[in-house]
Symmetry: C2
Subunit: 350 residues, 2 copies
């Protein structure tokens, strides 16, 4: 009886001990986060692959990209994007920095009249071209930006000069032009930016009763991860056709259109710049990775699909392991990605 | 025997059921956050008081604020800050919106030559005044900003016009001036901004071998919560003495120097604008509240003390319950706070 009694007691005790241990383990595993903790949550990657040696993504603008208009010239755009990817891939493959890759690839796209930046920039309400660009390095979070410049051939080159040779982050308008002149950055006549296509676009807009600004395709951006493990991002644009003089969009705003932090990701956005500024889109993606443990894909998806509105635009984002997200809420986004494992792809529509 | 046996079996079963229930409850209570969840974590307030009817905080710049220089004129500054607080308090007490309170109080401080914004703005490298300002409403996150304007008496008024009467968020330089002219915003001669004190400051800077820009006291900002439960924030500045022409700081950058979201907080910053842009300081504070459940005080403290460097500056921040944080990593910050419970205080040093 004593034995049976002991047995009757000991069994629930064992069960209780086991249950208590389970409770403790579970409690430890899922303790509520300490609000004063400053360390970022470890990013949960959706793709638990080993880190790539290098990776690169580019965009050439998001929007409606009407098939009527773009199907006949699709191959040209694919060729442009492919050339840009190849340049970046070659630089990164031979050990170049992500910052150099971003600057050089954005420059190539600025010189390409197919995209709305540099040579192919759209016209503002007053019939001028005003260009915005920014660049950021994920290692130290150094950054530089320029806005509303009119005579600078490659605004991304000037943005990098601002980052490296001034104490400032953002220079605009005449002051930015003078900084360009003082620092040997190539300038061009106003006529350089006058491409027939963009001029026609502007004349058509102007002829409409509602001569409002509109968002043409073509803001461009690049994100890169180099062999040294550093991320960088850059964005360049001519803005909106018919925009007000002096209007600056997200492409010149660090945290909105461009962001890079080696601990999380590099981001470049394209779309309705006002919305990207309002919601600090680029940094918001990094913050979701840092604070919520989202993967770069989850974070980009969350911001583009649930914070922005349909039609607002898209982003490219790249994490420190080389995972790429290219997300948009428009019918299309000119885009491409390449990496050290041989990935190389470009796309326009879904 | 069968009964005993049954009893022996039923006891562990009950224990197990209880343990399982406890496990389930605990698991439910402390489930790991779903990375795809979009709802912000409920803010954990350090001060669990009921919501105030209205609240207001202001700053007039952070920095060294040398006692030698400011002790003799301390009372003047305190009088200016007190007058600004009283104006805001009166507007909010009678049911005015936080947006109106922010605009009106910033305007008062812009007109006060003691602060580096509007009338008291500092001179840039070329001996001109270039002004930046921004405003944001926490309800819809509408926002407006202007930068590098030279003839606009009250840049905060222009920022609000940009928010309400343009499709854009940020207008700079000549384009912003023309927008001011088209929208009846008061403009003044360049001479209006030429106060003896700031001119002397600039001449002294220029005389030094290292005629670098420096951060004078006086950027100003206001955050307000109104009786309708809406938050708003605004910031205005003349920037850095001797800054490059066209340099834009955080005061014109939504997410950096100014941010407002009714779900989290309203923030206005002051200090080294480049650092505030680099780290998206204003939105970063809101993100810590949203994602980490920090109180407004914890979030402001975390960003000012652990993200920024000592000497970079400070912020005022206000949550939807009326809790105020005024945090700086400089020896002083001109500041004040008032609320519907009768709080009314101004301070300069620690």
């Amino acid at each position: 009886m004593s034995r049976r009694s002991s047995s009757r007691k000991s069994e629930p005790v064992r069960v209780l001990r086991t249950a208590a241990l389970l409770l403790l383990l579970l409690a430890a595993a899922c303790a509520a986060p300490d609000p004063s903790a400053v360390e970022p949550a470890a990013p949960v990657s959706a793709e638990p692959r080993a880190r790539l040696d290098w990776a690169l993504a580019i965009h050439g603008g998001a929007g409606v990209i009407s098939k009527d208009e773009y199907e006949p010239v699709k191959e040209e755009y694919i060729a442009s994007l492919t050339a840009a990817l190849r340049l970046g891939a070659a630089l990164l493959e031979e050990g170049g920095t992500s910052l150099d890759a971003v600057e050089r690839v954005v420059t190539l796209l600025e010189d390409d009249p197919r995209f709305n930046a540099g040579k192919g920039a759209v016209f503002n309400h007053e019939g001028h071209n005003e260009l915005d660009a920014s660049i950021m390095s994920g290692d130290t979070r150094r950054c530089g930006a320029v806005a509303a410049v009119r005579t600078v051939k490659n605004p991304i080159v000037l943005a990098r000069k601002v980052m490296e040779e001034s104490k400032h982050v953002l220079l605009v308008s005449d002051g930015a032009e003078r900084f360009a002149a003082d620092h040997g950055v190539e300038r061009v006549d106003l006529e350089y930016f006058r491409t027939e296509r963009r001029w026609k676009e502007w004349m058509e807009k102007r002829a409409q009763a509602e001569a409002a600004e509109s968002a043409p395709m073509g803001t461009e951006g690049v994100v890169a991860l180099d062999r040294h493990g550093n991320l960088a991002a850059g964005t360049s644009t001519g803005g909106l056709t018919g925009k007000a003089a002096g209007r600056v969009g997200d492409s010149a705003v660090i945290g909105a259109g461009t962001y890079a932090d080696d601990r999380t990701c590099a981001v470049s956005g394209t779309g309705k710049g006002e919305e990207f500024i309002r919601f600090s889109v680029a940094y918001r993606i990094a913050a979701l990775m840092e604070h919520r443990g989202m993967s770069v894909g989850q974070a980009a998806e969350e911001v583009v699909k649930n914070v922005l509105q349909p039609g607002d635009g898209g982003v490219i984002a790249l994490d420190r392991d080389g995972n790429v997200a290219m997300v948009f809420n428009t019918p299309g986004m000119f885009r491409g990605a390449a990496d050290s494992r041989g990935r190389s792809e470009v796309a326009i529509w879904e």
